[in-house]
C-alpha cells in the first residue's frame, strides 16, 4: 500500500502539536495609532457630551423654578419669574413650517429635473449651483430677504389676506385689505416673510438629499418602465418617487431641522413679540434662536439659564426631527445600501 508521507521538518514526535494563535499582536506603531484615534473619538465624545450636559444642567435650574408652566407661558420675564416658551416655540415651528411648505415643491421639482430631465451637459452645472446655494452664508440670505424680498412679498401677503382672510392663519389684526388707503406696514416683519427667507436656505439642503436618492434609482427599473411605454413622468411616478420616498421625507425633515435652528436671517427680519400668534401674515413673530440672540447680553445668571432652557427645548426638537429624518432615509429602500 502506498501512502504519502509528510516530510517532517520539525520533530513531530517530541510533543503534541499546538494550534497556532492567529491573533497577530499589535506592534508599537499600531498601539500608538490605536491610542491616538481612540483618544480623538473620546475627545469628540467629551466635547459633544459637555455641550449637551452643560446645557441640561444649566437649564434645570430655570426649569425647576417654573415647572410645567415653562411650556405654557408666553411671556419672557425671567427676573420676575414669569417666562415660558409657548410664544417662541410656536413662532419657531410656524416659521419652519412656512419655510418647508414653500421649499418642498421647489426642491423636489429641482431634484427631479436634475436627475431625470436635464440634459447631461447641464446636470453637473445645476448640481454645483444647488450645492453653492447651500454654502451661501445665512447672513447674506438675511440681507436679501430684508431689503429685497420683503418689499415683493408684502403685495402677496396683502392679496392672501384679502382673499383668504377668512382662514384663521391668514387673518391680520388691524388690517383692512379692502381699503386702498390701508397701510402695508401691518404685513412687514411677519412669520410669512421670515419663513420665505428661511425657505431659500432650506431648499438646497432638501434638494441635495433628494437628488442623491433619485440618482440611485436602479437603471433596470427605470428602463423597464420606459420599455413598457411609459412617458417620463409616468416613470417618475411609478419608479423614481416610490423608490425615493424615504429620501424625500428624510430630506424634508433635515431641512425642517435646519429651519428650526436658523438665527440670523430671522433676527434680521422679524420684530419680536411675546404672545402666541398663529397669524402668519401679521407683523411680529418670534423664535427661540432670535430670543437667545436678542437677550443673551442683558441676562443675569438666572436669565441665562432660562435662555438655556429655551435653547435646550429647541435642541430637543431639532434632535428628534433630525433622527427621524435619518431613520426614514436609512429605512427606505434607497438608504439600505448606505
Amino acid at each position: 500500500m502506498m501512502t504519502s508521507t509528510i516530510p517532517a521538518i520539525v520533530d513531530v514526535g517530541s510533543g503534541t502539536p499546538q494550534p497556532r494563535s492567529l491573533d497577530a499582536r499589535r506592534g508599537r506603531g499600531d498601539r500608538v495609532f490605536h491610542g491616538v484615534t481612540s483618544l480623538s473619538g473620546v475627545v469628540v465624545l467629551a466635547i459633544m457630551g459637555a455641550v449637551g450636559l452643560f446645557l441640561s444642567i444649566q437649564a434645570t435650574q430655570a426649569l425647576r423654578s417654573t415647572g410645567l408652566s415653562f411650556l405654557t407661558t408666553a411671556e419672557w420675564q425671567p427676573d420676575r419669574g414669569k417666562f415660558g416658551i409657548a410664544a417662541v416655540l410656536v413662532g419657531t415651528v410656524l416659521i419652519a413650517l412656512v419655510a418647508v411648505v414653500i421649499a418642498l415643491p421647489i426642491s423636489l421639482g429641482a431634484a427631479l429635473f436634475i436627475t431625470e430631465v436635464a440634459p447631461t451637459w447641464l446636470r453637473s452645472t445645476l448640481v454645483a449651483v444647488v450645492d453653492l446655494m447651500a454654502a451661501v452664508p445665512s447672513v447674506v440670505y438675511g440681507l436679501w430677504g430684508l431689503f429685497l424680498l420683503q418689499g415683493q412679498i408684502i403685495g402677496l401677503s396683502h392679496w392672501l389676506n384679502g382673499w383668504f382672510g377668512w382662514i384663521p392663519f391668514f387673518d391680520v389684526a388691524g388690517a383692512n385689505p379692502g381699503s386702498p388707503l390701508s397701510s402695508m406696514t401691518v404685513y412687514t416683519a411677519s412669520t410669512f416673510v421670515a419663513g420665505m427667507v428661511v425657505a431659500m436656505m432650506v431648499m438646497p439642503i432638501q434638494c441635495v438629499v433628494m437628488r442623491e436618492v433619485f440618482s440611485q434609482v436602479p437603471i433596470g427599473e427605470r428602463e423597464g418602465a420606459f420599455a413598457l411605454g411609459s412617458t417620463r413622468w409616468g416613470m417618475i411616478r411609478v419608479v423614481a418617487l416610490p423608490f425615493g420616498r424615504g429620501g424625500i421625507i428624510g430630506g424634508t425633515m433635515l431641512g425642517l431641522g435646519r429651519a428650526l435652528g436658523e438665527t440670523i436671517a430671522v433676527v434680521l427680519i422679524i420684530s419680536p413679540r411675546f404672545d402666541v400668534n398663529f397669524h402668519i401674515l401679521e407683523a411680529g413673530s418670534n423664535s427661540v434662536s432670535s430670543l437667545i440672540a436678542n437677550r443673551y447680553s442683558e441676562s443675569s445668571g438666572f436669565g441665562l439659564s432660562a435662555l438655556m432652557a429655551a435653547g435646550l427645548a429647541l435642541f430637543a426638537v431639532t434632535l428628534v426631527v433630525n433622527f427621524t429624518a435619518s431613520w426614514f432615509v436609512a429605512r427606505s429602500r434607497s438608504g439600505a445600501s448606505s
Partner: protein, 409 residues
C-alpha cells in the same frame, strides 16, 4: 429603424396563403400603409417648440388684458404668477388637442419641474446680484479693503473706512478653528472607520446628533462657560472655539462618508503585504481619499466662515483692527455685515452689503476649490498626481531590481 410595408409585398403574401395556410395579418387601413417615421425621444420636436411659443404668447396677452383692462390686479409678482398659471392651462389644452392624456400630463409635469429649477437658480442669482449691486459703491473704493472702521463714523462717506479688521478677524478665527478641528476631525473619522469597538457606533450617533445643534447654542455654550464661568473676555479665541464646535461634526460626518468609500480591496492588499494598520491608514487609506477629505474640510470651513450667531455671542464687536485673538473683541465678516445693516444710515447699509459681498466671494472661492479638488471619486488621480505616482513606482522598480542584482552577486 423604419418599418415599411409596401403595397407590393402584401399580394405575394396572400398568394402564398392559398397554397400553405399561414397567419394573415388583417390589413388595417391608414395605419401601416404610410411609411412610418422614427420618433425622436430625446430632443424637443418642432411641434413642441411651437406649442410652447404659442402657449407663452397666449398667456402673456391674456394676463396683460387681465391686469390692464378687466380686473384691478396689480403687482409684478402677481403678474408673473398669473402668466405662469395661464401658460400652464393653455399649454395643457393645446397639447391635449393632438396628444393622449399621459403625454399631456408628461408635458405639463416637464414644465413644472423645469420651472421649479428656474425658480431655484434665479433665487440664487438674485441673491448674488442684489448683494453685489447694493454693495457696488463701497466695493469700488480701495479704502474699503485697506482701512478699518475706527477712522469712520456712521455719517462719513464711503471714501473713508473699510473692513480690514473684519477680513483679518475672519482669517484669524478660521485659522484657529482649522487648527483645532482638522486633526481632531480626521482622527475621529479614521477611528469611526477603522475601530471595531462598539464605542465607534456611540461616537457616530453623538456626532450625528450634534449636526442638529443650532449654531446659536454653540455660541451660548461658549458664552456661559468660557466667558461667564471661566472669566475669559470676549475674544477671537472664544469665537473660534464656538465655530469649531459647529464645524467639528460637519467635517467628521463628511470625512466618515469619504473614508467609507475607499475600496476594501486596497486595505486588504496593504494588509496582505504585511503592513500594520497605521501604515495602511497613513499610506493607503488617507492618500486615496485625499481629495474627498479636502472637500470635507473646505465645506466645513465654508460653513464656519459664514456662521454669524456664535460669533455674535462670543467675539464682541469692535470697529478697530485687532490681530490678537486672545484678548479684546474681534469681529468677523458676517458679524460686521449683520451689525452694519442694522444701522439706519444708508452708507452703513451700503458697507454692510459690501461686507456680505466680500464674504460671499470668499465662500464662492472656497467652494470652487472644493469642487475642483473633490470632483474625483477616491482613488482617481489628476494628471499630475498620476505622473508623480508613475515616477515613484519607476523609482521603486529600479531600487528593487538593483537590490536583486546585488543579492544575486
Amino acid at each position: 429603424m423604419t418599418i415599411t410595408i409596401t403595397e407590393a409585398s402584401i399580394p405575394t403574401t396572400t398568394t402564398t396563403a392559398t397554397t400553405i395556410p399561414t397567419t394573415i395579418l388583417p390589413k388595417r387601413p391608414g395605419v401601416l400603409t404610410a411609411p412610418q417615421q422614427p420618433r425622436t425621444t430625446g430632443r424637443m420636436s418642432v411641434n413642441d417648440v411651437m406649442l410652447m411659443i404659442g402657449a407663452g404668447v397666449s398667456a402673456l396677452s391674456t394676463t396683460l388684458l387681465l391686469f390692464g383692462r378687466f380686473t384691478p390686479l396689480s403687482g409684478r409678482l402677481g403678474f408673473v404668477v398669473v402668466t405662469f398659471l395661464v401658460f400652464l392651462a393653455t399649454y395643457a389644452v393645446l397639447a391635449s388637442l393632438t396628444e393622449t392624456r399621459p403625454v399631456v400630463i408628461d408635458k405639463v409635469m416637464n414644465v413644472l419641474l423645469t420651472s421649479a429649477t428656474v425658480v431655484a437658480v434665479s433665487a440664487l442669482a438674485s441673491v448674488i446680484i442684489y448683494t453685489l449691486w447694493r454693495g457696488r459703491e463701497a466695493l469700488a473704493n480701495s479704502n474699503f479693503y485697506l482701512e478699518d472702521m475706527s477712522v469712520a463714523g456712521p455719517l462719513d462717506p464711503l471714501e473713508i473706512g473699510g473692513i480690514t479688521h473684519a477680513i483679518a478677524g475672519t482669517l484669524i478665527m478660521t485659522s484657529i478653528s482649522l487648527v483645532i478641528t482638522v486633526p481632531l476631525a480626521l482622527a475621529c473619522a479614521v477611528f469611526l472607520n477603522e475601530s471595531r469597538s462598539r464605542a465607534s457606533g456611540l461616537v457616530r450617533t453623538v456626532v450625528t446628533a450634534m449636526t442638529a445643534l443650532p449654531s446659536i447654542l454653540a455660541g451660548l455654550f461658549i458664552f456661559a462657560t468660557w466667558i461667564l464661568i471661566l472669566g475669559f473676555e470676549r475674544s477671537g479665541l472664544a469665537a473660534s472655539i464656538a465655530i469649531s464646535i459647529m464645524m467639528l461634526p460637519i467635517i467628521i460626518r463628511a470625512a466618515d462618508v469619504v473614508l467609507r468609500l475607499v475600496p476594501g480591496s486596497l486595505r486588504e492588499a496593504s494588509a496582505a503585504l504585511g503592513a500594520p494598520l497605521w501604515r495602511t491608514v497613513w499610506h493607503v487609506v488617507l492618500p486615496t481619499a485625499r481629495s474627498g477629505l479636502t472637500t470635507a474640510v473646505i465645506l466645513g470651513v465654508a460653513r464656519g466662515v459664514g456662521e454669524t450667531a456664535p460669533v455674535l455671542l462670543t467675539a464682541g464687536f469692535t470697529s478697530s483692527m485687532n490681530v490678537d485673538p486672545s484678548k479684546n473683541p474681534m469681529v468677523s465678516l458676517p458679524l460686521a455685515a449683520f451689525v452694519l445693516v442694522r444701522s439706519p444710515q444708508p452708507t452703513q447699509i451700503a458697507r454692510g452689503f459690501a461686507t456680505a459681498a466680500v464674504l460671499m466671494i470668499l465662500v464662492l472661492i472656497l467652494f470652487t476649490i472644493a469642487r475642483v479638488l473633490g470632483g474625483r471619486p477616491p482613488g482617481h488621480l489628476s494628471k499630475r498626481q498620476a505622473r508623480r505616482a508613475e515616477a515613484r513606482s519607476a523609482r521603486d522598480v529600479e531600487r528593487t531590481t538593483t537590490r536583486h542584482c546585488e543579492v544575486a552577486r
